[in-house]
């Protein structure tokens, strides 16, 4: 499965090459031209079936290739590695995890003090990331330096896999946003009466950096951003929003912390979903931000909207999504693009 290869690929922000290579391999036969820009964005053009002057004509569809992770900032005397976080990570999920370091994929673990040596009143405190280090088996600085270099990127060592067949749930790392990348690849397999600019962007997790320059150079009439978004549907005591719910279809964003979605594009998606009988939901919290935050502000401004595959445990070592949500997202976007051929309402 394509999502499997994309999820297993390593691509912490600023180091997206592996992901880009996989995508390029996959889409070459479906696009007319492509280029890789200065920030590493993979920008592809798929020409329309028929020449048309209707607005919007030039449609950008973006999904980011990068994932959250760590970066080596130093080597301790005892051979362990100091690190910083790349992107938003809750320190608490770092304990007791396996990682891969650098291009050579040196295996390492993030350990912590044995429970036996921790006073009872300390056990309810979270451990800050700066108290942790990565152990690669090296016993001093010199032997560590044979294997790693300061600046090496670190990704979680997580394998994609199926959970429950009937529920069509799968687990893997970086569904934010390899799920979006996989949806975009599926969309490119069809042809539309629109000029499709597929942008596989870089550095979303550190501030929407790739999308900013990509949207400037594409200068689109309208933009769709594809995401793997927050799904926080755990049982909770308080009356808190689940943001999205697993298995309830693609999530349409009307607003998040980075932008307000274009009303016409939201309407297009909702109308299309109803018309095609595709389940959908709204992202029901103004939380998180996406590439749309950068794209809608490009040049004179771009009408934009974000559609996401709900993913539990994003920004953690292993996330979970439903393949039926994934399929419905592809179906909804495909149909919406066809509907867009007639222009926006």
């Amino acid at each position: 499965m394509l999502l499997e290869a994309l999820s297993n690929a390593r691509g912490v922000s600023g180091n997206e090459d592996q992901v880009r290579d996989i995508i390029l391999q996959e889409i070459r036969g479906y696009i007319d031209t492509y280029r890789v820009d200065a920030l590493g964005n993979l920008l592809c053009v798929k020409k329309p079936r028929h020449a048309s002057e209707k607005w919007p004509h030039k449609v950008m569809i973006a999904a980011h290739m990068d994932e959250i992770g760590l970066i080596v900032t130093g080597i301790n005397e005892n051979g362990t590695l100091r690190f910083d976080k790349v992107g938003g990570i809750d320190d608490r999920i770092l304990l007791s995890k396996q990682v891969l370091v650098g291009e050579k994929e040196v295996p390492g673990v993030i350990g912590y003090r044995p429970i036996h040596l921790i006073a009872k009143d300390e056990r309810d405190k979270a451990i800050e990331a700066d108290k942790l280090s990565i152990d690669i088996g090296a016993s001093d600085e010199e032997s560590a330096k044979e294997l790693v270099t300061v600046g090496d990127y670190v990704s979680f060592r997580t394998a994609f896999g199926a959970l429950d067949e009937e529920s069509r749930t799968v687990k893997g790392k970086a569904f934010d946003d390899r799920a979006g990348c996989a949806v975009l690849i599926e969309l490119l397999k069809e042809t539309y009466d629109l000029e499709i600019h597929a942008a596989f962007t870089t550095q979303e997790e550190v501030g929407l950096r790739g999308a900013r320059v990509a949207s400037y150079s594409i200068n689109p009439d309208a933009a769709f951003v594809l995401e793997g978004t927050i799904c926080d549907d755990l049982p909770k005591k308080k009356d808190t929003s689940p943001v999205t719910e697993l298995g309830k279809g693609p999530a349409i964003t009307f607003m998040d912390r980075s932008f307000v979605a274009d009303r016409r594009l939201v309407e297009l998606l909702v109308t299309t979903a109803k018309q095609m009988d595709i389940p959908y939901q709204f992202k029901r919290a103004v939380a998180g931000g996406t590439d749309a935050g950068a794209i809608h502000l490009a040049r004179e401004g771009v009408p934009s909207v974000t559609v996401s595959v709900p993913s539990r445990y994003i920004h953690a070592p292993v996330s979970l999504l439903s393949l039926s949500d994934f399929d419905h997202t592809v179906q909804l976007l495909r149909a919406a693009l066809y509907n867009l051929e007639g222009g926006l309402p």
Partner: protein
Amino acid sequence: MDTMELLRDLSQATGVSGYEGEPRAVARRALAPFTDEQQVDALGNLITLKRGMRAPDTPPHSIMLAAHMDEIGLMVTDFDEGFLRFTTVGGVDTRTILGQEVIVHGKRPLPGIVASRPPHVLPESEQEKALPIEELFIDVGVSEERIQELTRVGDFITMRREFLPLAKGYASGKALDNRAGVVTLVGCMEALNRMQHSWDVYAVATSQEEVGLRGATVSAYDTAPDIAIAVDVGYGLQQGVKEKEAISMDKGGAIGIGPNFHPLMAQRLIETAEKYEVKYQREIIAGRSGTDAWAIQVAREGIPTALISIPLRYMHTSVETVCIRDIDRIARLMALFIAELDQSFAEALGLPKGEG
């Protein structure tokens, strides 16, 4: 025996305290070629025996080697909207399992994830607190309607953790506490196969250590050895642990010194290590060792007991880390110790003469 491969097989076997079937099967297969008898007792201990070659007029003596094969884990206690609630079995620091992959041992093994909430929806103040177990859930990706067909309250949960060889002869995985100890037993028995020894040797992979040294208690009674060595893991020096709290990695087994251990046993182990130039270190334990040695020492009339600790980092997490060389050193040290056991050592310990 390939130390790394056997450790991998044992680490990846599932065996929470009381349910040690899988690691027991692996241990049995590994020990069978080097032992004369293999039995499983009422509490699930694997008791193997390799007979010594004793001179006609010397009394029979025996030594017990013990390493526990159970692991810590979790257990299903309730259901909530398709998610599982759970409790811990043995000393699990629940801070180390957030975002962890697990296997729920239901009707079939169900892969799952210890649920965490994304940072986007958590105020920073909440990220400073450890989550109490009441706020932790396991997600097996199954609908609420079907979850209770597949699992039930009381099902065991283990960490889903692939064994991972690291650089420089180190390796990391779950349950190396104390499957690494079981590997030292196999290594010792294999070495003894090429040596002469006059004492009988019981190599016992014990059960239920993590919940109260229970397997060791009954297997020491059953085998009634003259002397015993327990092998378990000790706190290896690591980031965030002070030198005085730990033993060194890659410096050999740590021979326990303190009230739990017979001074002559410890002394003889040290002499053997010195004589054959096997790396070792000392570990001072002022009282309760918390290992099988604690139970074995007071079995029957009392048994002169020693403890050898394998230096291990990140104890009771799913990334426990050992140096493979330490395992090999301990196996060799025990084999050399056993090969040199004789009547004069028995007399020095004041052991009964036996039936002759």
